[in-house]
Symmetry: C2
């Protein structure tokens, strides 16, 4: 476990500065104090928590999303959530979730039993056993990329797909593309549906036709590229927008197999900006979901819910990251 | 100005309890402390602020929305914002806004000059001079019922119109209504457009026809009822949904003038739940926008923006309030 010394070394300040920052001494600037707290969380320093006995506990649930390794999708969500919560003196637990786990105890019983006053849930699907419990729970709860109606104790956070798709389509249009295909996630996924609607909306806003042959749905995985890429190309697609980066990686490989160069002959745009996307050849242009900010926003919305404020849908802003997989359209 | 004694009297506790609560003494429970702080704000106690010299300032701007009187729309927005901000030790100023004011100084120059680190803006329209400044500002800013794309320093809060309209339409459908007219706000208003789209969506979800003759747009005022109510009734409307409570009050009076009883012959449903709606005859059924919660959510989103978290669109939950202006459909 990290010590005050480790934090001091990382920040290149004295141990006493770190100690003062951790204890909120008045001669440390607020920005230095926050940097010290953020770094403490990043390095896994936890001593401060154990000293305070009246600390309340909130938690993060994870299902279907890896988080252990640095480049796992969930890793920075946890880091951001903990950094924001640590500043305001909360204890945070991370709990992996399965269907079996949920069937053993109801959501409210679990939270009450563990004395956890609120949670953020990542990776939930409509068929999860706790979904039913969430409709009526009174435990403040934030869902990532999911949404339930009418319960004032529930909020949701995610990246704004309308703005993300608009950034994506506008980027491709600015490069002269008009036949823009969309390889979406599964039709029964809440977020995949939202993104597909957003794609249609942006295409219409740019006065481009929404061609049924240029839209397909499959899982959010590399393998989904294979059945559709060739078909898109045969229907004249000059750019292929993808539901996430994994699909995009598959699409790039399928284009290569078909003897087409990315980006010279086909532009490919991903969604998410996974840490691994820089290593793809060519490096993937994509729409960034800032996972650190998703974690932080999850905390802020949970904080509001715990204070009785019924914030329901909440979105953070995406960013367009232009790398090497998109270029000016060239007639084939 | 209120004193500690006034707060003590209102809460029926001793002055020393209030003093302890204000100073965060450890022998006062957290819920009592928060009640004391909320009451202090409600009564206008401000002494605590002036004693602390390192307090940072945020502000609320108001334009086109009254807030001075208890039953003004803006009154409780301010109260909620201040209550949430006071707990976290911010100084809050309320500043009335006009076009002239905005033309004198740019937004950023004003905020910098006044040393205000963030704001919530209520009542803005697309033609406000500061709108242009907001596209590029780096001052954390929350817009109420308005939205601008792509600037990560801007967030918006408002009540969820999709959920609100769904509550409204579902209520009328449950009473047997099928010919549900909608008298909306002006077409160039962001929020009026959103609500009209939400009306169409809910009608379709309940498999009801969206009839062009049963939709009209006008200002958010009492007088807007006159040109449309008779027409709606002639086209067979059995229920009239209104863009806000003021329009609904006008519609009720127009129905009476046409010799029709509300709710026996026509159901009328408002939107907002203004304090005055209970006094309408019959008392108005409506969709509540909780203004206290709008204020609080504005603070929480601003707090997140100030901490660098780019929350953009944020919605709080509406509630259906059933009073006397809606009833089972009766064939005329």
């Amino acid at each position: 476990m990290a010590t005050l010394k480790d934090i001091a070394a990382k920040l290149n300040v004295s141990t006493s500065t770190v100690s003062k920052g951790m204890n909120g001494a008045p001669d440390i600037s607020e920005s230095m104090r926050q940097l010290i707290l953020d770094t403490a969380v990043e390095l896994g320093y936890t001593k401060r928590s154990s000293r305070q006995k009246d600390k309340k506990k909130i938690c993060l649930f994870f299902e279907n999303i890896d988080y252990y390794l640095d480049d796992d999708f969930g890793h920075d969500i946890i880091l951001g959530f903990k950094q924001a919560a640590f500043r305001e003196n909360w204890d945070v637990e991370v709990i992996p979730l399965s269907h079996g786990f949920q069937k053993k105890r109801s959501y409210d019983a679990f939270m009450l039993g563990e004395k956890i006053v609120g949670s953020m849930i990542c990776g939930f699907a409509f068929d999860d056993p706790w979904m039913k419990d969430l409709e009526t729970t009174k435990v403040p709860t934030v869902l990532f990329d999911n949404y339930l109606q009418e319960n004032p104790y529930l909020g949701s956070v995610g990246t704004d797909s309308l703005e993300g798709m608009e950034l994506a389509v506008r980027h491709l249009v600015s490069l002269g593309h008009e036949r823009i295909a969309y390889l979406a996630g599964p039709e029964d996924s809440y977020i995949a549906r939202i993104r597909t609607d957003a794609y249609r909306r942006s295409m219409r806003m740019h006065h481009l036709p929404v061609v049924p042959e240029l839209i397909a749905h499959d899982y959010f995985v590399y393998e989904s590229a294979k059945p559709y890429t060739k078909d898109f190309l045969e229907h004249g697609a000059t750019a292929i927008l993808c539901g996430n980066d994994l699909i995009a990686e598959g699409v790039i490989d399928e284009c290569k197999k078909a003897g087409l160069s990315v980006p010279d002959e086909v532009s490919v745009l991903g969604y998410d900006d996974l840490p691994s996307t820089e290593k793809i050849d060519p490096p993937l242009s994509t729409i960034r979901q800032d996972r650190l900010m998703i974690g932080k926003s999850g905390y802020y919305i949970l904080h509001a819910l715990i204070n009785g404020v019924p914030l329901s849908r909440n979105l953070i802003r995406p960013r367009l990251i232009v790398r090497g997989s998109t270029a000016m359209v060239k007639p084939r």
